[in-house]
Symmetry: C2
Subunit: 320 residues, 2 copies
């Protein structure tokens, strides 16, 4: 038996897992979908996650508590990604594909199960390391213990799971090309530098999008009426279709919640009210942004927008 | 016989080749240094280049004239990099390592000659493509003709040499890991996203720095008196020691010109005058930036600074 596996350590990333689970189902895969959760995930959220995932596995939260290295990444929250190590305990599965909760799958990727442990794609920030957001692995208690020992003895050079896994599989950059997943399995478009002609040439092959960095798709605002995304203020996401992928994320999320139950009507109502309030405010503005709004070219930079989006996120996380 | 090879198509990149040649010599290599030049390179500059390189080879300028694809890169000047194809005509050498003129070598890299054609490091913008700024190749008229035919028939998907070479060696991403040079042979630090903990952990291994992007080291200003770099306005180079590498570039450049002949005194005099004029202007400023200046924390944002730097570049290119 084989499975796609992900991990959520709080209710925010759980929103990601809802869209990810939906995106996997949409590819027509028959693999199991197994989601590791920690006790930080609320009961309400667990119910919502169970509608998309075959199995929720409660695991103990592991934290590197390595603030020094995490400061280098400016991502103090990543210490809990050590909980990912628990994935190796899923020995009911012979092989798994791990996907971070901030990924979505655009096309069927069952062929990944033909790969061996540990297969992963390069991290674009230092491509002799693999990015640990997508990888093929083989559950094993022995490997689990090995990783735990390494974590205890040497920690992680980035304070998160990626540093740990790259040390454990330190021969990845030189061992065999078969362990190198093509970049199309872990494309990270929301980063400033990209080789635009390659996106133009190979972009249609992209199978998995990984929204790395601190701003996640669920932190942006989506207006379903016009199928448009309003980017979180200060986000750089104009290149390589990142905005289109964020929109795709929202479509998947909404589809998941619709299929789940009638919750969506509530979310849609809340959204409609929000859209109406945005519109009313804009109507009162001296400059008429209506045309831009209709075309989705909306860019909120003010303090109000931030509050709107925050409120929106809180509303989403509280809804069930 | 084996050689390091580079290419310059104008007097601006020639400045890069001066520093690159010097950096190679400093590693103690016994390989030949062969530089392809086009007739856009001035006679004066050729004399300066000959002091660093064993052989200057005049080649016909080839241009992709593919403004559409180059627009994607926002780098219209890259069409002439097609001239790089001429490197395969250097059949007096059995094997070569090509280095773009905007690279410098920090440690001996003779071990690259143990690699086979075509070995290269991934491009961080799309790592299933190799970056064509550093690669191992074997001169051959047959390969030269093959590349020329491909260029004529299909052009390049990026309008430059990288797109062309990646199509010709399209099996690079999957063929064999031995063709993948470690990232330390082509590190591109002057780009916004970097995996900081990896730079921290592996940075001391870096052997070749590649200053990709439109702003080259010679466009920044260097103050030799305080061994400090004044970045070109708007440059993002604060991370991963990019500023240190730009300073290293300048040290190499100045060393090259010193070794060359007494020209350096002239450059140094001009520089001293420039520094004095900057200081005089700053003294008259209401805010005393003296301390910052002494520590190299100078950030010119005004129109004057741009003019200063432009004048400085022109002066350098005209000096001989």
């Amino acid at each position: 038996m084989e499975a796609f596996v992900s991990l959520v350590t709080n209710d925010s990333y759980a929103l990601g897992a809802i869209a990810l689970g939906r995106s996997l189902r949409n590819t027509g895969t028959w693999k199991k979908l197994a989601l590791l959760i920690t006790n930080q995930v609320s009961q309400d959220m667990r119910c919502r996650l169970e509608r998309q995932w075959d199995e929720l596995v409660l695991v103990e939260q592991l934290d590197s508590e390595d603030s020094e290295h995490l400061a280098l990444l400016t991502r103090p929250e990543l210490g809990v990604t050590f909980s990912k190590i628990h994935a190796w305990r899923l020995t009911q599965y012979s092989k798994c594909v791990f996907l971070d909760a901030d990924t979505i799958v655009l096309q069927n990727v069952d062929e990944l199960f033909d790969r061996e442990e540990l297969s992963a794609a390069p991290d674009i920030g230092w491509p002799d390391c693999f990015n640990s957001g997508v990888f093929v692995f083989e559950p094993s208690l022995s490997t689990f213990r090995g990783l735990m020992d390494l974590a205890r003895q040497r920690g992680s050079f980035d304070g998160g799971d990626q540093g740990l896994l790259n040390v454990y599989w330190s021969d990845w950059p030189t061992k065999d090309i078969k362990y190198h997943l093509p970049f199309i399995y872990n494309v990270t478009p929301n980063i400033t530098y990209g080789y635009a002609p390659a996106y133009e040439r190979f972009g249609h092959n992209i199978k998995i999008i990984h929204f790395i960095g601190p701003n996640k798709p669920w932190q942006h605002h989506y207006v379903p009426e016009v199928d448009s995304v309003i980017l979180f203020p200060g986000t750089y996401a104009s290149e390589h279709g990142a905005q289109d992928y964020i929109r795709r994320w929202w479509q998947l999320y909404i589809e998941a919640e619709q299929i789940g139950q009638s919750d969506f009507m509530e979310i849609a109502d809340a959204k409609n009210r929000q859209v109406e309030s945005v519109r009313a405010r804009r109507r009162s503005s001296r400059i008429n942004h209506q045309t831009n709004f209709e075309h989705g070219h909306i860019d909120f930079n003010g303090r109000d927008s931030f509050e709107n989006i925050q409120a929106h996120i809180e509303k989403m996380m509280n809804s069930n």
